[in-house]
Symmetry: D2
Subunit: 455 residues, 4 copies
């Protein structure tokens, strides 16, 4: 029997493949879908069905890609949307996977037509429930995607779906959601990488509310909403283009790279230290593993992208970009900044400093302005540097004018990575005097510098 | 956070690696242990501890191998045995893995000092229990290893361990045993590849008995006991030799192979069809994936082995043999039987036939003698061919004289693979007139041949 | 600097990638072209140009496939053909690869517009010459492809090309042809896997003829001409379909496989022993590594193919089939014959025998009829079994009625592999009494059986 | 037939494997020798013999390692040394590799007992000559290793070996040396990655001298002699320890890393930009690909090493270190500098600047002091920055006091990589005011800055 979870890091997205005898089913596949084909082949299975739990808004779903390559049939939830492909799932519908059975269970709330899928073992015991964005380890799906006015209604649906359909299962049933810790699809997800009905019933803070009212009041919040959600939603209903139809990005010489800079967006996916030390003028810094989380906030879909990749191999960055629907990547700089400098082209710098250096300056109120780009939750949990100004990284484009141009801006986050993204954003927009604090709050609080702990 | 199960197919053995921040722990490692080192490295962890749940008897444990390569500390259970390495675990002992905690829980029954390990998440919630050979999906550990006279005592211990220590956990706690379906360490293991306390409490047939007495009566059986258990037990207490200390098997030309045949055991790991069609005279047939299950029954540890591998690559077979403690493999035939035949050397055949052919002969009581080499359980579940004589494959060496030499012996099993092992055993011992039924009972019962269904 | 030869086994086809600084050139790419992209990426190069030495007739060229994936420009030789893609190369045309230069040299003879390419090192020394099918290690290109009436003319062209353009180079220049030993594009190719102008000048038997006349007389022969050459020629001028446009073959259950058998050609790519032991009724046997050499002779391009692959993985066979332009492969049997038999379906056998067994029967002139399916060259070189009838495997379809139906036909070749192909062909056409001799002539002549040595 | 060159980058070392039928021979294996075993296995061969061309001085030879793993016999040249393993080769000695033959040819000069090996094809044609460090593409072996007083004698031997033994071969014979471009074993090696007797006879500048005298005068020079040569020589005669006997380096947390710093040498193998941006105080910078060339000059063999690797994976750096005989690597920092900073530990910086920035400062003779760490050959070929002071990187430890401490030192090389090594060396020794010029002379000469071209 084949039962595997395929994780897309960065997105913290979980997809699943279940196979038995010669048949397999995939749930919520990602766009770079060869992994499912390979797993199925190794197990001697053919992927016969693709099940979507809901219309995803945080990544490009791979159903069409996988279907074209395997002939598998696509089943989508959210039947009320105007899908251009596949067939709508009905509540109670069943599929066979060898000796196992899968059954659709309507669980609206996160979207109007969200589906969960219940897997029975050969003895007909309910064994695993695939909950999509309905229930996570330690969290529940967000209910604000249809707009502020429908939050209450959707939160009520979610309550019913979880308390009636999911929690009625045996505590031993394994819960397989569509996301793990780090996703933008829920306020917070626990570190339990596998979970069960019993663990969630007892330890999920969102399931501890006494009644439907309290649940709605606590869950029904408006959360930050990435601008790319709209693009994803459209793509996933219409069906995204096949990866094989995209032009492969070219390896560009420094000369060719420079020529393309005029009509392209320069994205640099190296780590913060390298970017700070030298980068192509005007480049935006997002470290490779941070692409899924941040590219959608800062890079317009209308722009062609050219890449300065982390290593000689641009594939990891491309994979992330394609998962987010950035299909127009024209090229990359294979020799990196060494080639750039050897061609005699000038680069720019963003200065970095250690926490110790910031610590000695912190009382110079005149000269320094400290910018904290972390989220509210992190600040509440880990504390802050006294006197720092908080603008969450994702809000920086909107709030950029709150940052003074006439003072030295010291930027910090949790580790130093997001700070460099912020610094590069500021620099692109004319702020010249920005410095990144290496190690971020983690480094700060490991040293002897003063820390504001919120009560 | 790193949490992965590493499966050794054939053995149906499960080992686990848990990592967080820079530390990792491995539970019950296998001998070919590079997989753990690789997983740890990818996660940026160092393997600091190796935990054994008990003294294994069905495979060579990899603790020393892994410890030598990583510097990790070895913790063994069954402290009363005279271990030559590592440190004995105490009940209640704790280890940290980054933000997670692991705690030892004494669960005797399968062996006298078997340990389970309970993993707590950062919020101190009991999350996963590693049960070794104490509790499986749908089964429990066997209790007959210390001898017939102690079965009742050990079964009582096992009852207490499971009902007191394991079942007292929340139904949502995930259960991670040392074996999956197909192991020789339990009478039967369910197809649920992941399970939980709740699922076992409700669906494990061994946990449905009302009281300790009934449990002991039903669980406390004597099971078949492979002759290699003794060797494994000794090796695992003394500590097996390092793989790097073994001489690598040589690629042998047909001439060299023939010369070594005199003082070696010829093991042929190809599938049944190829073996039947042509094999080196005197070879024993065990198909590659069947090695872990059967080699220990038929190949003496005192014999040097030479291999006819399934493909050009002998590594899969070698890996299986080393896991079973067969360290003296002198060489293999890289060009296979094509090279053998091209060198002008004679080969032998074992005839095969389809179920249709057997079906037409079944009434010829004089000429034919049908040998069923399946186990009792399979026969009970799937039925039998009328008039067939049953000798379980593993019992064939002892019962070989029950098979007539003067009649054509038609051998079948579930699929045809074990039948060829049986046929080659008979042939090595002087039975010339043996035929293997392709497809076995599966094929038989899919066609229109008569079937004895036990009530 | 990057300089690598990519070998396509089976076809004995050689392609080349040359790269320096950020640029690369590929010569005569194969259809499964990811290997070039990977090599270029590892070297930090972009494939800018694709050079074809001539219109290939023995495999599907990968120029379009590679161009679509990289944006490289295609340059084809044989400018007089009506190409649907790329640009025609001119004699003397030059390309830069970093600090290196490549120059086109017209070398007609094998085809009318064959090109060689001369690579100069940074010091402008002629260093390597890519000779396509003009000059091989120990052989020259065949000149009979345009028809019998033009052999003399084309052979004259070939003489001029080799003696004037190639042999005028320094003896130390490295010769890189489009094929190695085993190709159908030359009568014979030597075992030197790398060669030079000097080695060919001195040791190539075709270059030892005194004058143009004698060369033409000796080289200008009509050779066997595979029926698929026509298909390849058309495809390579028109441009073959992209691999990503093909439907992926499905993993078929035995039931599905059986259903597709009616409208499909069953191709079994396992080795001779397994095929002989049991195969799907009506299947043709071509062992995996023999596909490139033989599939084009026996499988019509108009038929849909279904596969019984050598292992669980059908990819090696698919790769071979796609290289030969067999794009319509509908599916494969993932579980192999074990699954087939377990589903209760009947199989068929072809008997095999050792050389020893044939040896004892060879004087029974009445009952036995020995068929030798090797080529004339092999027979001349290695001898034959007394009394054997020779029909070359590729001629068997035409000469099939020369084989008697009323006698036992013993088939042999060099090793036993081609014999099984012949046996399966005969069986498909109604010959029931065929037996394959294992080890073939190699086995025969290694034992003490009588051998006819041609003087 | 198997014939492959295995390249060890960094060392620019070439080793070879030749195989046919079931046998293979390896020439001058490297220490990480699994690659040969894998190649042999894929070709169905067993490595029977290991041939050394001479006692290597620039890397640890892998003969013992490979012999222990395969049982192959070791044949060493330089029979007059006191070898602790293997057997001395005799001039004219022969080995069979399937249908091919290899013959030893005495070619002293680089060392006293250097051997070349001549490979004959099955037709007995001399086909390939393995020349060790006797003859390279575009160069010859150095003759100064036995000391100044024997240079003339050894150069005379080398002349005889090349002109008598090698150049007597047909121009078409392929020449396979032990090194390619970039090695320390010859003054200069050409970019031809494959070469022949004919190409060397005509284009190798060292073979253009009229007579023995002139050859000796021109070749017999004293070259730079890395301090590690002595260590390698001893190891290679005594036989290096097995890799499996080394303790695997541990993944160290920042705390553990810091604790080990006291008794260890901190080696940072990241690129120049990252190192400059932030590094562990006191670390030496050698970028990963530069290890083979430079580690032996700067890191004493008596020191334990701890690593800051380029990526999460320390293996590439470890492989380089083990090839150079640095066996005592205690650990590495898996999370890199991000982890270091997050733990609150301080780091240091070395400033970098673009060529444009240096260009504007070049006339400030007071404040700036420009250090060029390239070799004489590079300077002659590519020119220099006016006013720069030249100390070759490898000579910096000896000449360090020639660098002023009271001025800003601008360091440049070809690209910026070696400059950072120099900067880190200076910094470790108390120079605080050092700056690295990005892009080095390549960048400088691609821009509009003034350049001194030597006539």
């Amino acid at each position: 029997m084949l039962f595997e979870r395929i994780e897309s890091e960065g997105l913290a997205h979980y997809s699943y493949i279940i196979g038995d005898r010669t048949q397999a089913i995939v749930i919520d596949p990602r766009r770079d879908c060869d992994i499912y084909i390979q797993k199925a082949r190794e197990a001697g299975c053919r992927i016969a069905h693709i099940l979507e739990t809901h219309r995803h808004e945080d990544f490009v779903v791979g159903s069409i890609e996988l279907s074209v390559k395997t002939g598998a049939q696509i089943w989508h939830a959210d039947a009320d949307l105007n899908y251009k492909y596949g067939t709508a799932v009905q509540d109670g519908q069943e599929w066979r996977v060898g000796r196992f059975k899968i059954e659709a269970v309507e669980t609206p709330g996160h979207t109007t037509g969200s589906m969960s899928y219940l897997l029975y073992d050969p003895d007909k015991t309910p064994w695993v429930v695939f909950t999509g964005d309905t229930l996570f380890a330690g969290g529940v799906g967000r209910t604000d995607l249809l707009g502020t006015d429908r939050i209450e209604q959707m939160s009520g649906y979610l309550y019913d779906s979880i308390f009636t359909s999911i929690l009625s299962l045996n505590d031993g049933v394994i819960v397989c959601p569509a996301h793990g810790s780090g996703s933008v699809c829920a306020e917070s997800i626990a570190e339990r990488t596998w979970t069960t009905v019993g663990l969630e019933r007892k330890f999920n803070p969102m399931l501890q509310f006494d009644d439907r009212e309290t649940f709605i009041k606590n869950v029904g919040k408006e959360l930050e909403r990435p601008p790319y959600f709209k693009k994803m939603e459209k793509l996933n209903v219409r069906g995204p283009p096949l990866l094989s139809s995209l032009q492969r990005p070219a390896a560009l010489s420094p000369l060719d790279f420079e020529e393309r800079m005029e009509d392209s967006f320069v994205l640099d996916t190296r780590f913060e230290l390298e970017f700070g030390a030298a980068h192509v003028p005007g480049a935006l810094s997002i470290w490779e593993q941070g692409l899924a989380s941040f590219v959608g906030w800062f890079v317009p879909y209308t722009k062609r992208i050219i890449l300065v990749p982390r290593t000689e191999d641009p594939l990891p960055a491309l994979t992330q970009l394609y998962r987010m629907g950035y299909d127009d990547v024209a090229g990359f700089l294979p020799g990196g900044m060494v080639a750039w400098h050897m061609s005699g082209r000038p680069s720019e710098r963003i200065e970095t400093m250690t926490v110790q250096e910031l610590c000695t300056r912190i009382d110079d109120k005149e000269g320094t302005w400290i910018l904290d780009v972390r989220g509210k939750g992190e600040i509440a949990q880990n504390g802050a540097i006294p006197g720092a100004h908080n603008i969450h990284l994702t809000q920086l484009p909107e709030a950029i004018n709150d940052v003074p141009k006439d003072r030295t801006v010291f930027i910090f986050c949790g580790s130093g990575l997001r700070s460099m993204t912020a610094a590069s954003l500021l620099k692109r927009n004319g702020w010249d005097n920005v410095k990144v604090v290496l190690g971020g709050l983690a480094g700060w609080s490991s040293s002897t510098c003063p820390l504001d702990q919120t009560p």
